[in-house]
């Protein structure tokens, strides 16, 4: 058993940390306030190869694997949840679906420019009546000659209005339901019939864009079917499985940043003639944060290691759900304690703590609510002992 990061991953972390400090952190407050996508940062990230970190170099990526990608998400989330979310939706699910299930031709055509950061990706599954119940999607795709004609709409799509290439899930055979009746498609924003709707105003991760998208007789070439025809739901679930690890890694970064800020503050804030760090009430909060963070770190990187070493069975899927579930709940507790330790200062917009608190809240909701994660975990566990849950 060896828990040390490889030399290349250590240098990658140092480089990303420097990039995050110098290029991402200075804009974090501004893009939150202005609800502005930091395109200038995305351009710089592309120049240093941070838009396709997990993918092999032959597909334009960095070749750093899931561990490398988790390092990216961890370090970015320490300084800016919004920027991390944009890159996460692009790399971790949008492009990831093409990497996992695309043909060699599709990878050359779409994954390469995405991994290089020349194009931006999004993952479009959620609909008004299909959130946690993703199998209930209603967007339809009907074959017409060499094309499919898509009709319907998706909501709350991260990067939905700014993506060049979208992985879209649509019903191809309503009689078959989710298993067999849903197909994934690669849609370019310039395809006729693709339209962007309202951009949402959000509580947190406000520098990332969340939009409604419409397909109005949107014509998609048949060669853009992603993965097996009718197996789109599997593609979605497989992609989300992987996305959950890096989501956990992002939560790890946010939690660590909350702990670091809380400790700095506890050291320098004097009350009753001494730093508040001398108070047991503060010490216990710090100790609890640090303990949960270390447990999360082990969970996240062990799961990333499973993926990089090809162990992607049911146990992996369970662990990935745990990364998302535990990560977002640790983050929730850490940012809450961080605000509490900061007192009034944690509530003021002048300090990053307030933004971190708002940014954290979405992690218990998006990419599968924590309630769904618990269901996934329990289903997998009981299946192992021979009981199929309803």
């Amino acid at each position: 058993m060896d828990f040390t990061f490889s030399k290349e991953h250590q240098l990658l972390r140092r480089m990303i940390r420097e990039f995050a400090q110098q290029e991402v952190a200075p804009l974090a407050a501004e893009i939150d306030l202005e609800e502005r996508v930091p395109f200038e940062t995305l351009k710089k990230a592309a120049q240093v190869g941070l838009m396709g970190v997990p993918f092999p170099q032959k597909y334009g990526g960095a070749g750093a694997g899931e561990i490398g990608y988790c390092i990216l998400m961890e370090e970015l989330n320490k300084v800016c949840g919004a920027t991390a979310t944009i890159i996460g939706a692009h790399t971790g699910i949008g492009a990831m679906a093409i990497y996992l299930d695309g043909t060699e031709e599709q990878k050359q055509k779409y994954l390469v420019p995405l991994a290089r950061g020349e194009k931006l990706a999004a993952f479009a599954l959620t609909e008004a009546n299909a959130g946690s119940d993703a199998a209930a999607i209603q967007t339809r795709a009907v074959r017409d000659g060499n094309e499919y004609v898509l009709n319907g709409s998706k909501i709350w799509i991260t990067n939905g209005d700014i993506a060049d290439i979208l992985t879209v899930f649509a019903v191809t055979d309503p009689s078959l339901g989710a298993r067999g009746g849903v197909t994934a498609f690669i849609v370019e924003r310039d395809f006729p019939g693709f339209r962007v709707g309202t951009k949402e105003t959000k509580m947190g991760i406000r520098g990332s864009s969340t939009a409604e998208i419409f397909f109005e007789d949107c014509r998609v070439p048949a060669e853009n079917v992603l993965g097996q025809f009718g197996a789109g739901f599997l593609t979605a679930m497989k992609t989300l499985d992987v996305g959950r690890i890096s989501l956990g890694a992002g939560c790890l970064g946010g939690s660590q940043a909350a702990l670091d800020l809380a400790m700095d503050f506890a050291k320098s804030r004097y009350q009753f003639g001494e730093p508040i760090a001398q108070k047991q009430a503060i010490q216990w909060m710090i100790a609890d944060m640090a303990t949960e963070i270390e447990a999360l770190r082990s969970l996240v990187y062990r799961t990333a290691w499973m993926m990089d070493s090809g162990q992607t069975g049911r146990e992996f899927s369970t662990m990935a759900a745990m990364c998302k579930l535990y990560g977002s709940e640790v983050l929730d507790r850490c940012v809450d304690k961080c605000v509490q330790i900061h007192g009034g200062m944690g509530y003021m917009k002048k300090y990053p703590v307030e933004r971190m608190y708002r940014d954290a809240r979405i992690t218990r909701i998006f990419e599968g609510t924590n309630e769904v994660q618990r269901q996934v975990i329990a289903t997998n566990l009981f299946r192992k002992v021979g009981l199929r849950l309803r």
Binding site: K7, L11, R14, V48, G49, V53, Q57, A62, G63
Partner: protein, 261 residues
Amino acid sequence: MRIVVTIKQVPDTNEVRLDPRTGTLIREGVPSIINPEDKNALEAALSLREQLGGEVIAISMGPPQADDALREALAMGVDRAILLTDRAFAGADTWATATTLGMAIQRLGQFDLVLAGRQAIDGDTAQVGPQLAEYLNIPQITYVREFEIHDGQVMAKRTLEDGYEVLETTLPALLTITKEANKPRYPTAPGIIRAYREQTVEQWGIQEVQGDPEKLGLKGSPTQVKRSFSPPPKEPGEIIQAAPAEAAKQLISRMKQRNLL
């Protein structure tokens, strides 16, 4: 253009903490980095290569773990990386270091330009660059914050305390680069992975540099460290606890007492 950049691996002094009890440096867990101004030298070399074409060779003398510094240089984009490492090189002062680097550079054959960082953040001597130029018997310009190459000539702005001077000389030459010269590029993510998984750092020992052991390492070092010590800690300051107007009055009278006003 064939450009040689000399780099040094140093402890990241930003990460160094003092032991609150003993007042000594805590070296444990301090990461090693490329000396910051050597990164400026690397950046200068790489952007010159982008302009004029050619080859950039990074070279470092150090223990085997200095391999990491050269991998980082590869990830930034240098074409070739050479680590001078041998027990015979150990214990070198600046003179013996410059001698070793000089011998190695001579083994490389023809070159147009040698770039070095102004000084290292651990030793702070700023001697190796100039000594290396002397060893190679080529002109040198130190404290360079800007330079241009034209027709076999280099024109450089050399930083002075209260301004700069513009100097010109012929190639090959050695320049020492300051942090004002540029903003070093980041190593790229794919570059980092390639540097460790596909590229090599050449290791040269005493045989490869064909050096005279008497001129290298501790034996070749005319200076020896006799003793090292920490300077006594600064006396703590005094905070005048009073309302602002009263505190200001007290401050002024104290300064007058000490003939500071």
